[in-house]
Structure formats: C-alpha cells, structure tokens
Subunit: 437 residues, 2 copies
C-alpha cells in the first residue's frame, strides 16, 4: 500500500544553513517508509505508475511535516487530569496523586493510557516516550492505536522487582515491527537508592533497553542529593554509570556548567518540559545554554496531571517564550530550532539513527502530519515555521500517519467510539475516588 | 427574539467563598440581556411560554460561560503576524514593523482588523480593547462582525492631531447600541510628550472617552522615564493626572510597591499580557502582588505581531504558569482567579458596571460562549474550571453570543467567506511588501 500527499507545502526539517525551511512539494510513502519527497510532477507520475494501489491525499492549502515527538509523558495520568491543581506539592502527592494511584487497577491504567494516546495522536504527536506503571498491560493498546512509543517501566525502591518483571513481560509482548519499544525507568536519583540504580542499569544493559529518569527537576532535589552524596544529581548519576547515549534525562532544570558538560560528553538525551516546570514552580531549564554546548535537547509535555494536557504545540511556544524571558534575549530559541527539538532531535529519544525519524527524507520512517493552515490564526503566511510554532494548534492537525499507516484522518480515529471512552473513563474515576485505600 | 441554552453546565463567574464554581443549569436570553439563569425546569417552561419565538439550543455535554474579554490588542496587526520573529527589538521596529505600517492603507488596516476579529470571535472572545491607527475606519466592520469593542485611537507625538480627529470621527460613526465604544490611546510615556499627554487627557475628558496607554512594559522604559523625569513611569503618569478608574494601563511589568499602591488608589485597570511579555523578553508582571492589593488586573493577548495569535485560552494558562514560576509558589493565581481576570474583571475595561458583563447573571449583558467538553483533552472532569483554564482551547468554542445575538455557531461566522478573506489579506500583504517607502 502506497500513499501520496500531493501539492502540499513541506516543512521537511532537513534544511541547514540558509536553505528555505519550507517549500512546495509532495511526499510519497511505501510500506512504513517515505519513498519520495519531490515537487517534480514527472517523478510523481512515475511513482503513481509504479504503485497502482496508491491512495492520493490532496494537500492544497495544507502543510506536511514530520509528526511531533513527545519525549517525556505519563499518558495514563489523564485519569488524574485537573484532579489536584493549585495546591502545595506535598499535599498534592500525599492527599491526591498517590492515594489515587494506589487504588487504580491495571485495567484502569490502560483506560487512562488510551485517552492519553488519543489526545496525543489528535494533536499530531506520532511518537511518545512514556514512564509509568503497568506498561506491560498497555503494549497491546498502544500497538492497536498505531502510535510509535517507548514505554518506560517506572519504579521507586519499593517496586523495583515488579518493574523488572513488568519490563520482561512487556518486551515479550511487543510484537512484529519495532514501533513499540520498552525501556526501564527508575523514578529519580532521590527516590531510588544507589544500589537499585546500579541494579537497574545492569538490568537495562542485559536486556538491551534504554533508560529514562527524572533528573534535577527541582532545587529541593539538588539539595537532597548534595546532602546525601556531596555532588549534583547529574554528577551522582554519572558516578553510578547511569548516563550514556541511551539515557533520557527528563527536566534537567537545575544543572550547572559542569553538569551540562557531563550530559554533553555522555551523549545523554535531555527532555525539556517547559509548561510542567512552570506550573509546578520547578524553575527554568537553561535550554539555550544546553543547545550552545551541542546537547541533544528534546521537548515534552510531561503528564496531564501537572500541565494539564498533552499538547506539544503549546510546549513548543512555551519553550521559546520561556527561554526568551529567562535570558532577556528575544533572539534565543527561534522557531525553527524549537520545531527541530520537537521533531528531528526528539527522534534520538526513540532510538532512531540520524535522519531516520522526525524528518521528511526518502528512506526515513513515514511518521508525518498534515496541517490545515486555512485558519484565521495561521493567516497570512509571512513565515510558515513561525506561524506553526507560535500559532499552530493541536486542532489544526487534520491527518496523522505513523509507520506508513493513516491513524487519524479528518481529525477522526477510525473504529474508536470516543463518547464510550469518556463514559468508561468517568466511571473508572468515580470508582477510584469512592474506593477506600 | 429569545434564546434558551438548555441543559448545560454553567460556569457563571458569580461564585464567592466556597460556593461551587460550576453547576447544571440553563440560560435564557431576551434582547441583549440575560433573562434567566436557572436549573428549575418549571421556571424554564414558563420562560418558553412567555417567549413563543424562543430558539432553544440543546447544551448537553456543553459548558455555558461568559465570553472572554481581551483588554489589550492591536487586532489589525494580524497583517504582520510572524512578519518579524526572533530578532532584536530595534531591528524589529525599524526594519520591519514601522516600514510595513508606513505603507499600509486604511482599507488594508480594516482587512487586518477583520481577520483579527474573526480569530477573536472563533476563540470565544466576546469583548476586546483595541489600540491602533485608523480605528474610525474600522467601526463599521467591528459593528457588522458583532463583537463588543473599545477602540482606542492610538498616537505618538507625530500624529496626535490626526488621532484626535479620528477619535471624533469614530465617535460620530458609532451607531445605535453602545456595543462599540471609542477611547483615546497615547502610545506610551516615553513616546508621547508630557504636554501631549496632558492634551490627550483633557481631550478624553471633554469627549467623555476612556484612555488607554502602554505603561512600564520594559526595563528600558523605566530607565528612560527615570532619566527624563526622576520617577517611575506610573508616578510620572500620575503626576500628569492621567491615571483614574477609566484608564487601562497595558503591561505594568516593571512596577514597584509604590507604583502598585498608586494604581490601586486611582482605580486603574491593569491589562496583563503574559505571552507578549515573555516572547519580547519584557519581564514578569507582579500579578499576584497586584491582586493581593486589590488591583483590577485583567488579561490580554497583545497584538498578533508579538505573540503571535489572539488566543485568550493560552493567555490564561500562561498567566497562571508564569506567576507560579516567578513566585516559586504553585498555589498563586489558581484557575478560578485567572478565569475571573479573563471575564468578570475584564468587564471593567469595557466600562461595564459591576455584574453587568463577564458574568452569567439575570440582567447582565448577554455575552456568552458554549464550549464542547466532549474532547479528549477535556476529559475526565475532576474540576471543570481547572480543565477549562489549563486545557481549554480556542477550538473548543462552539457557539458565541454577543449582546444577545449568535455571532458564531458551530464554529462558523454566518455570511463570511473566510477563504476570500485570506486571499484578500495575502494580496494586501504582498502589495505592502512590494511598495516602496
């Protein structure tokens, strides 16, 4: 089965130097790969001849670009969206989040994951990195919904053995293509002991799994690690051998020059979560300085419990706005660089080789989105990338393709009864709230 | 003509203390006023009997709430959306914004205003405060599109006389109801001389017009005013007699305790523009401290040239996130307070008496919006106001009523050909860019 996205404006995310960031063109897909990126109608005609089963999607007035990549999420926490806002962190955790989580069943976690993935897909996110419990139970759902995922089995000291077992089960459940992969996810340097961090790294290496962890999210965390170990969270993790080019470090808000050098030297993938960092009052990650050092900085929503949505468009502009505010320099983190964080850079978190994901390039994985720019907030078009980054909305995403398959078309996910899903989610939330601890 | 919004969930913005912020209910409209706010079906039946021409809009799964009020905008600058991003302020003004403005005709400004008002209405904004040139030429368009507006005739020293003449013309052009009103808008304390500020205040008082002005937007402005006049921008304007309860002061980023006391004492309406302040690296307005002092703080988008859209939903969460980040306290500016800034508080900028606008209350002006909450990002509903403020999107607005008239229905503005508008806007932009200075 082949697809042709015809007569579009392309934002391929492959421009370098002074090359234009957008251009007219069409994209052909064969199997799960991009087979064609061209504006040559003769080449397109030959492509159509070679693929008589090709379905053509007319894209006049549309933008075709790589799908967005969310590199840190707790998607199942949709169940707790707006459950506990505008209250102090300790009360938030002890009185709301943890009691709720203690009561939810694995089936309810799957329900929350379903709602989260639906929100991600409808907002043009084609890949996401998740970190939560019961990921083994979510593999089937994530595979069925068609999104690309790296599912991180998360743990504190108290449930490390369950997490290892979950990870083994999850790996066994992943079927066929490598669209859904598994990772290990120790929660944070202050909630998992050094011994267990070492165990998890050894386990991950033995299983060939990447590792993800919250790092230097709050100033308090820095204080705790410094008191316990006499160094920064980054230095501490590096000393334990946890940092390498398969590690995703979420947040990295409170990192100094030496920490950034360490992260750069180890090739760590940083996941920046601007709206979560603002809403929870964590602070401002030094993204501009990280990028200057050549660090791989990607973009993420964090969970819907602390944000409260899974909207990468808003994260893009929040990232840009926040750096401009924090540095006092309106030139830092320009639109194209932010878009690269959310696409081509994010691809590294998914374990893709350079140029294999997050770009429109022949041979790359066919993860792409179609944006309707005939909307008042996207007109006129002085600079298409600026319009997309500063004004684009999740609701402008019309069609979503993951791994060569159309998973959203005209803002609908085929075969999914959303109202029924909302009813099931509401019933689950009611049950969990009623249940005693 | 009467309207009934039946079986909705209401967010009336009239709750005080521990009263619930949302409740099931219906809203009846007669003429341009809200005639009924109730969940009593017997009362509703009598309302329908009394108004046999009543049109009933079924609102199951919908929220009905007051329309949003944007208290500082340059709507016609949609023409320059993404025209000049991520570049230094002086180059931005001298190489892009001002040359563009020097070339645009009044008809092109009307076109920009049309696009801006369409974007505002489709995003649930029922009232806006504008500040730009050629407002007299925009009166007819704004009246026709059906939004409520306060149009501020803006000027520097160089064009004060034209602005006075424009204001007089505009006042004469406003017809019938008081849905569209005119104001005078000296640009800022550093771009209009003291003499001209005094002239503009005298003119505004003589004409009975409110006054709006940019105040303390950047640190540079504070430095300039201190060098010239030995005091802060707020103290300087107060000394010139410009500050009273009909003054809208946009930005107020760099204000100290004494400035805030002055603004509170004079009853000035503050317009907070969080995304603009971030994107232009202006700074963080001390909104939480202003609210503590009882100041009337309202919310705004600023122009689409510095933001780059006119989306009050994103301004709401940016306002909350930014205060939480700046104060280090996740408790400040909770969702309901932000929503009040964007509705009931904003009403004061429109010159409305307390309780007359920005609330669902019998007797208030019928400016309201219907939100479809059957969307993945708005489910489940633990806390409806949190969901609206932290996750609600412009695209969730289904129906918009201003002054008792349905101006948006099913996300459409009747009688408006949007594609034709985009073509005209594109042509105007092309012409302006080609034109020599």
């Amino acid at each position: 089965m082949a697809l042709l996205f015809h007569h579009a404006t392309l934002v391929p995310m492959t421009a370098s130097g002074d090359e234009p960031t957008s251009r007219p063109g069409s994209v052909g897909v064969v199997g799960n790969r991009i087979a064609l990126v061209t504006d040559d109608e003769a080449v397109i005609a030959r492509f159509l001849d070679a693929h008589p089963d090709c379905r053509t999607i007319e894209c006049t007035g549309r933008v075709v670009m790589p799908g967005l990549i969310d590199t840190h999420c707790h998607a199942a926490m949709t169940l707790q969206r707006s459950h506990a806002d505008d209250i102090a962190l300790m009360s938030w955790l002890h009185d709301y989040i943890w009691p709720f989580e203690a009561r939810q069943t694995p089936d309810e976690v799957v329900l929350g994951m379903t709602l989260g993935v639906v929100e991600l897909l409808l907002g043009g996110v084609t890949s996401f990195v998740d970190m939560y419990f019961h990921e083994d139970r979510c593999v089937e759902t994530v595979e069925r919904l068609g999104i690309r995922a790296l599912l991180g089995c998360s743990f504190f000291d108290s449930n490390i053995d369950e997490a290892f077992a979950e990870a083994e089960k999850a790996v066994a459940q992943v079927t066929g293509c490598d669209r859904v992969r598994i990772a290990l996810a120790p929660h944070a340097p202050y909630t998992v002991s050094r011994e267990n961090l070492l165990r998890s790294k050894a386990f991950a290496d033995r299983m060939g799994l990447p590792l993800m962890i919250h790092v230097a999210e709050t100033q308090d965390e820095g204080r705790i690690i410094r008191e316990r170990f006499g160094c920064s969270p980054v230095a501490y993790l590096d000393g334990a051998g946890l940092l390498d080019d398969r590690t995703i470090a979420a947040h990295c808000v409170w990192v100094d020059d030496r920490d950034m050098d360490t992260l750069a030297r180890r090739g760590v993938i940083v996941s920046h979560n601007p709206q979560s960092n603002m809403k929870i009052s964590s602070g401002t990650a030094p993204v501009a300085r990280m990028l200057e050092r050549g660090l791989c900085v990607t973009l993420a929503t964090d969970g819907p419990c602390s944000n409260n949505d899974l909207d990468m468009w808003e994260e893009m502009r929040s990232a840009a706005f926040l750096q401009k505010l924090a540095t006092g320099d309106p030139l830092v983190l320009p639109a194209y660089e932010v878009l690269r964080m959310a696409t081509a850079a994010g691809a590294r978190a998914m374990g893709a080789a350079d140029g294999e994901l997050g770009v429109l390039r022949e041979g790359a994985l066919a993860d792409l989105i179609v944006i309707d720019i005939e909307k008042p907030h996207l007109q006129p078009v002085h600079d298409l990338v600026s319009n997309l980054v500063y004004c684009g909305k999740a609701s402008d995403v019309e069609t979503v393709v993951v791994d060569g398959r159309i998973v959203v078309e005209n803002r609908q996910i085929a075969g999914l009864d959303l109202r029924q899903l909302y009813r099931e989610v509401a019933a689950a939330v009611e049950r969990i709230k009623r249940a005693s601890c």
